[in-house]
C-alpha cells in the first residue's frame, strides 16, 4: 500500500479529519472504521469504484448524514455533533458542486449564483451584481448571465454550479463527480478551474470521483476507498505504480480481478439446465 509521507502529513494541521468512521446503510456496512486526513489548502481526491461509499464521505463531511460511530472534524468543528443553526452556519463556509450541477431550473444563471448571497447577507443589489459577475467571469460565463439552466450545456452548468459554490468565498469546496457526463474539453476546463480556484483562493478542495485519468496535474493526494476503508493513498504517480492487485485493477480499469466481473450467482450450468 502506498502512503503519503508521514512528514508531509504531520507538517500540516488537518483541515478535515475523519476518525474511525463507521457508517451502515440498512444492514450493509458502507464505511468500516475509515480514517482520513486532508490538509489545509490541498486538493485531495477520494477515488474508488462505483457504490463504494465515496459520496457517503461527502455527505458525512457536509453533515447530511451522521456516522454510526467515529468523529468528523472540519476546521476544528465536530460536524457529526452539529445540528440546527450551528449546522447551517457551518454549511455557509462550504461550497459544494453536486454531480447534477443542481441549478434551480426556474432561475437564470445570475439568480442561481446570487441565491446564497441574497439568502445569507444583506448586501445591496449593486454589490451583489458585481460579486456575481466577478464569480461568473472567473468561470468564463459572464456572457451567460441571463441564460436559464435548460439553455446551458453540461459543462457550462457545472461551471455555473462552481461559481455558485464559490460566491460566499468558502474555506472548503467539495466536488461530487465533477467530470461525469462531460466531453473531454468540458472535463479539462472543469479540472483546470478546480486547480485554479484552489490556488487563487487558497481553499481546501475534496474531489469525489472515479475518473483516474483526470487526476494527473489536478490533485496533491488521492485516497482510494475499497471495502469501506482507505486501501491506498498517495500521488497519482505513486498509485499508478502500486502493485497490490486491488489498486492495479482500479487504476488500470481491468474488468476482472479482486472486484469480480460477475455478480454472485448460482452455477451457470445448473441455472441454464434448471
Amino acid at each position: 500500500m502506498t502512503t503519503v509521507s508521514p512528514d508531509t502529513q504531520a507538517s500540516h494541521k488537518p483541515f478535515i479529519e475523519l476518525r474511525d468512521v463507521v457508517f451502515r446503510h440498512d444492514r450493509l456496512t458502507v464505511l468500516d472504521g475509515l480514517n482520513l486526513k486532508v490538509t489545509q489548502g490541498s486538493v485531495v481526491a477520494i477515488l474508488g469504484p462505483s457504490g463504494v461509499g465515496k459520496s457517503t464521505i461527502l455527505k458525512l463531511i457536509t453533515g447530511q448524514i451522521k456516522p454510526e460511530s467515529g468523529s468528523i472534524t472540519v476546521n476544528g468543528l465536530r460536524v457529526d455533533q452539529l445540528s440546527g443553526n450551528k449546522l447551517n452556519n457551518y454549511r455557509k463556509t462550504l461550497g459544494v458542486m453536486l454531480q447534477n450541477s443542481a441549478l434551480l431550473t426556474d432561475m437564470s444563471v445570475f439568480e442561481n449564483v446570487a441565491l446564497p448571497v441574497r439568502e445569507h447577507t444583506s448586501l445591496p443589489e449593486p454589490v451583489i451584481r458585481r460579486l456575481v459577475l466577478t464569480k461568473l467571469q472567473a468561470v468564463g460565463l459572464r456572457g451567460a448571465v441571463a441564460m436559464l439552466p435548460r439553455e446551458l450545456s453540461g459543462g457550462m452548468a457545472r461551471r455555473v454550479a462552481l461559481a455558485r459554490a464559490l460566491v460566499l468565498d468558502p474555506a472548503l469546496v467539495l466536488y461530487d463527480e465533477p467530470f461525469t457526463g462531460l466531453d473531454p474539453i468540458a472535463a479539462a476546463t472543469v479540472s483546470k478551474l478546480i486547480r485554479h480556484v484552489n490556488e487563487a483562493l487558497n481553499v481546501t478542495s475534496v474531489v469525489i470521483t472515479h475518473d483516474v485519468e483526470r487526476m494527473q496535474g489536478l490533485i496533491d493526494c488521492a485516497h482510494i476507498i475499497i471495502g469501506g476503508k482507505i486501501a491506498a493513498s498517495g500521488t497519482p504517480a505513486d498509485l499508478v505504480h502500486d502493485q497490490s492487485p486491488m489498486i492495479m485493477q482500479f487504476m488500470q480499469g481491468l474488468p476482472d480481478g479482486p472486484v469480480p466481473f460477475h455478480y454472485p450467482a448460482p452455477d451457470l450450468a445448473e441455472d441454464l439446465l434448471a
Binding site: T62, Q64, N88, N89, R91, K92, L94, V96, L98, Q99, N100, A102, L103, L104, T105, L115, P116, E119, H120, R164
Partner: protein, 259 residues
C-alpha cells in the same frame, strides 16, 4: 396467491396508505412553523400564486361556463315538466354555490396545479436541487414547499368564486338568450333563494378546506417522492388519487356539519 396472502397484501396496502396520511398530517406543522412575515416570503408566495392560480384560470373558467350551461339545460328540462322553469336561477345558484362550485374547482385544481406542484418538487428532489439548497444552508421547506402551499390555499377559494361566476353567466345565457326566460325572474328567484351564510359562505369554507387538502397532499407527495422518474410519476398520480378522495369525503362531512 392464496386468500390469506391477498388479505395480507391488502392490509399492508391499507396500512401504508394510513401511515402516509399520518405522515402527511405531521408535515403540516413543519410547514406552518416556517411562516415568517417578510417581503421576501410574500414575493415568493405571489410568484407561486401566479403559477398555480393565474395559470389555472383558463381551465377553471372554461369548465365553469360549460358546467353552468349543462346544469341550466338539465335543470330547465326537469323543471319545465313541473311548470317551475322560472325557478331555474335558484336551482342553478344553489347547486353551484353549495356543492358543484367548490367540489369541481377543487378537482380541476388538483389535476391542473396539484400535479404540477408534486411533479415540480419531486423533480427538484430527483435532480438534487433540494439537496443543493440544504447544502447552501437554505431550508428547502421554507424556500420551495411553503410558498407553493400558501399559494394553493389562496388560489382555490378565488378560483371557486370565478368558477361560480362563469357558471352563473353560462346558465343565464342559456336561460335568457336561448330558451327565453325572463331575465328579471331569473335573477329575482336566484337572489331570493340564496342566503349568504348557509349557501354561499358554506361553499366558501369548503373551498378553503379543499385548498388546504390539495396544497398539503401535493407538497407532501412531491417532497417525499422517490428521487427517480418513476417516483415522480407515482407522486403525481398519488396527488390526484388522495386529493380527490379526500375532497369527496370531506365534502360529505362538511355538508353534514354546515347544512
Amino acid at each position: 396467491m392464496s386468500n390469506q396472502d391477498n388479505e395480507f397484501g391488502l392490509n399492508r396496502h391499507l396500512l401504508n396508505q394510513l401511515s402516509d396520511l399520518g405522515s402527511c398530517g405531521l408535515f403540516l406543522p413543519k410547514i406552518l412553523m416556517r411562516i415568517r412575515p417578510s417581503f421576501k416570503q410574500l414575493g415568493q408566495i405571489m410568484r407561486q400564486l401566479y403559477f398555480v392560480g393565474t395559470r389555472s384560470m383558463i381551465i377553471i373558467l372554461t369548465s365553469g361556463f360549460f358546467i353552468g350551461l349543462v346544469i341550466a339545460l338539465q335543470g330547465y328540462n326537469t323543471l319545465k315538466q313541473f311548470g317551475a322553469s322560472e325557478s331555474l336561477g335558484a336551482v342553478v345558484a344553489l347547486s353551484l354555490f353549495r356543492e358543484l362550485g367548490p367540489v369541481l374547482t377543487a378537482l380541476l385544481f388538483t389535476g391542473r396545479a396539484g400535479t404540477s406542484i408534486a411533479a415540480e418538487i419531486g423533480l427538484m428532489k430527483a435532480t438534487e436541487q433540494l439537496d443543493a439548497l440544504e447544502l447552501m444552508a437554505i431550508d428547502p421547506i421554507e424556500r420551495v414547499v411553503l410558498p407553493r402551499f400558501i399559494a394553493a390555499i389562496i388560489a382555490v377559494p378565488l378560483l371557486t368564486a370565478m368558477f361560480n361566476l362563469l357558471a352563473v353567466t353560462g346558465a343565464y345565457l342559456f336561460a335568457v338568450d336561448w330558451v327565453g326566460l325572463d331575465a328579471g325572474l331569473f335573477w329575482g328567484r336566484m337572489i331570493s333563494a340564496v342566503d349568504l351564510g348557509p349557501d354561499y359562505l358554506s361553499g366558501f369554507y369548503k373551498s378553503i378546506v379543499f385548498g388546504v387538502v390539495i396544497a398539503l397532499v401535493s407538497v407532501f407527495q412531491g417532497y417525499n417522492a422517490e428521487p427517480t422518474g418513476r417516483g415522480v410519476a407515482v407522486a403525481t398520480t398519488q396527488t390526484v388519487i388522495v386529493s380527490s378522495i379526500l375532497i369527496l369525503i370531506l365534502d360529505f362531512i362538511l355538508t353534514a356539519l354546515l347544512i
